[in-house]
Subunit: 285 residues, 4 copies
């Protein structure tokens, strides 16, 4: 887990020779490939690739490699990123009153289950300050009211930027983000919705599930866009319920699914395993 | 599996003393209880019960028991049924071109996995005649066109009645039943829908799922009502998919879920394990 | 969730009239049944029952009810317990270095997901003191060496008794308990084993799983007996792995299963949902 | 699904440049890659690859490609296969009395869910002849007794060879194959074992599971070797059971898992998705 690695992820129009060109370049620099994944979408004729290269194996430094790759990328019209595992992703957490996802992510951060830092926690409630500050992570209480909503989200955006966060995780944050906010962090806000989307969008999904009498409930981790609960899905999971489960039981059972799915989704994002294409995701897990 | 048993299922307004009264009556007739299930719905204050009684243990015959129970049922305002495992449920299957559910149910019937008879198969296509008739089950080809729809469903209703079917199973039958037909067989038509309801109602659910980019696909077994895909859900299940799965892969993976969920739902129905209450089901599995 | 309730659980030789007698007694005291579960084991001819009675509905107090029930229990040769949800179960946690189960149980305790208290945490390592003491729960560091093992377990037993713990949870405690210790807390020590038992008993189960090339890994929550990893199983679950998962990946994936299965098992135990019979459990979930 | 494709699968010692060399060769022949999968085993330092190439895209014929690839393969010390989807895999099924797997595979064969042919069915019982012959597949009844065992397996081997079967599927065949037989078809005999291996090897696994009181039961699809139930695992799955499930219920529930897991394993094998390495499998699903 601790070997330094460069992760190359890219997408481009599909054609003959992409893998040959990319792997040829990597091989020419003595790059040792730890993990490689490919996907060719037959419908949109688009190609996706992710490579993990052992950092110490490269015969040239990362900037020179980046330069050589840029030339190739241009030729193939690639959308690409090259990230370095030594540079930890910086995550800002938004929470409200419920702390199952927060608590779970803090555990994973304490144990460095995967490489990420929680640079700050922002909440519209003061309740979780003690638990967060025990971890020596800054906690900002930014209340949201109909009157202060614009100013508050402005403040939150400033905080995210001051802490140089790479991504925002809505760990059961119960406020709807303004569309502009969503747009400025496009592809960098991860939400956990407490239903199996597209079932039960919007508010009180467990109540909706109870009313409909479904036999499984679920949770969905997705990127946030301006359209509520309609962004690209990263991961989902479900758990069985039956007639004996009241709404409160569904909430209890659902929390375990929510926290696991969110953590999985965040790990995929942080490790550059997710590529977004036309409101869908390619996840190289 | 082969012991003859009487199954008592009932629902009524909840109050103190229901179980005492019912179990007192059964005990007074020396009834040996093989399986017992209860559910009290705290929201609607309604009570549900299912008991399997070993037939040979009863000190009185079933008609006398039925008589004594009727008096008690009246006192508690019960909706109830008493069924005899020696009287097999008679099932009419409706199919179209796809045979995965048909094939699976025929296997279960050949092996008498649970007590039911397939009394006839009705299809709007001729394709599956050979396979059905190999099993010595009558096969009726009733084509459906916009012009003959009323007459055809009339014919199908006659066939169901002539074969004295207790229930109809839509084993991937791709026609929408007329509302009147649904009403006349209320609580006795079981459908398998190839999505995780309420996601993706209506036509081409796998295409809808592919478009939305979900990470799990599912199937739902439900009772048919006049509202399309909105009846009480008996059972559901899901299977994981990812970006590499085309619509055809979803269909292939989904078929295995569909046939398993339908078979499970049919078994619950046939063994009187399902009680319907306000568009939801209590399933004593 | 917050209504006070009495939970009656019992087992006895099966015969006609048990349910009638028990429910007759409850009804005669105006007891309102919130939840009722029954199981008749056809092989051993043994009967099991669990009832949740709304405390405020009983027309007599719990001691009088206990007295009346004792007479009935004697007649039917019952093994029985009557517990009061207002009296929280007191749990002692044993941990080593890994804190995923500890962290998860502390979350559930903070949020009172179900009624239990963590009265102390005992560890053979000092590492988790800060996190536990943040929760204002006493933390005892009791190192274990080959030389001090007898004395140390004596000390731990004293601590458990001083804190009047009803049960001990081994939340990834990596020492083997002495047989005598196990015997004295028979049916009251709950362990989480990091494999799908009976596969991979004993040490390093993920390494064993990796060597065998299994495609699913799991976790098992069970009561501890003098026979290592052979006690009655309360719950189990699994997660899919594949050829790309190294032992470290299995450990990471497995931790999520372990903590969920342990929490589920503990809830079953605390809510008197588990009855032990001949090294197996009846779990009324 | 219907495009003709060549599937290249290979394994070799890992080193820099393998992907570059292989993809370079394919690109030089204008090969359009439909699906590509890679795995580098960090422990054994072994490399595995599978490529699906669109047949019509290749600028040279398959034999010429095979020739060019052979030279490259030699350089990298590769173990490799190149198969053509137009040449269907020929499968011999061995069955006994139970027909859930047989019935399920016949369904998939009738519908050509994936490309394979069932060239014959061999059974130690006559019971399933009618159902198999309805499908116009030859059925051979080869009884096995302690006395005739050697001769009977000789006969069966002859039948397999006469029908030019590429692989044998033990679809709940209840006889143990002689070691020599296993050796001669090494990597080409697929079995479904009705437990979650390595739990409950050998006979009557559901009875063993019932005795142990497990909360999940499973099935394992694996290659057969001379060591009973110890060969490389291709796939596994489980289903939940509880105290109310008798051995017969476990058998019923287990059959659905068995048939699904076997079908999945067979598909992986037929589509050259499985590579065997040191008693483990790499499955590119």
């Amino acid at each position: 887990m601790s070997q330094r690695r460069y992760t190359l992820s890219l997408s481009c129009p599909d054609r003959v020779g992409i893998v040959a060109a990319v792997s040829g370049l990597i091989a020419s620099c003595k790059g040792w490939i730890l993990e490689a994944s490919y996907h060719a979408d037959a419908v949109t004729r688009w190609f996706f690739m992710r490579q993990e290269i052992l950092a110490e194996s490269l015969s040239i430094d990362i900037d020179e490699f980046r330069g050589r790759f840029a030339a190739l990328a241009k030729e193939f019209d690639m959308n690409w990123r090259l990230s370095d595992s030594a540079v930890k992703k910086r995550i800002a957490l938004f929470v409200s009153r419920q702390d199952h996802c927060l608590s779970d992510l803090l555990y994973r951060w304490r144990n460095q289950e995967f490489d990420f830092d929680i640079v700050c926690v922002i909440s519209n409630h003061p309740a979780l300050r003690g638990f967060v500050e025990f971890h020596q992570i800054p906690y900002y209480h930014v209340p949201i009211t109909p009157e202060n909503k614009v100013r508050s989200f402005g403040r939150m955006e400033d905080l995210v930027n001051e802490h140089r966060a790479d991504a925002i995780v809505l760990a059961r944050y119960m406020q709807i983000l303004p569309r502009g906010f969503c747009d400025r962090f496009d592809g960098r806000i991860i939400n956990i919705h407490h239903s199996f989307l597209p079932s039960f969008l919007g508010g009180r999904p467990y109540h909706q599930a109870y009313e409909r009498g479904v036999k499984l409930i679920g949770a969905t981790c997705h990127y946030v866009t301006g359209d509520l609960d309609a962004g690209p899905i990263i991961d989902q999971d479900v758990i069985r319920v039956d007639h004996s489960d009241a709404v409160e039981d569904m909430m209890r059972l659902g929390r375990d699914v929510e926290k696991t799915v969110l953590a999985r989704g965040l790990r995929y994002h942080v490790q550059e395993r997710v590529l977004i294409h036309q409101n869908k995701t390619i996840v190289f897990d």
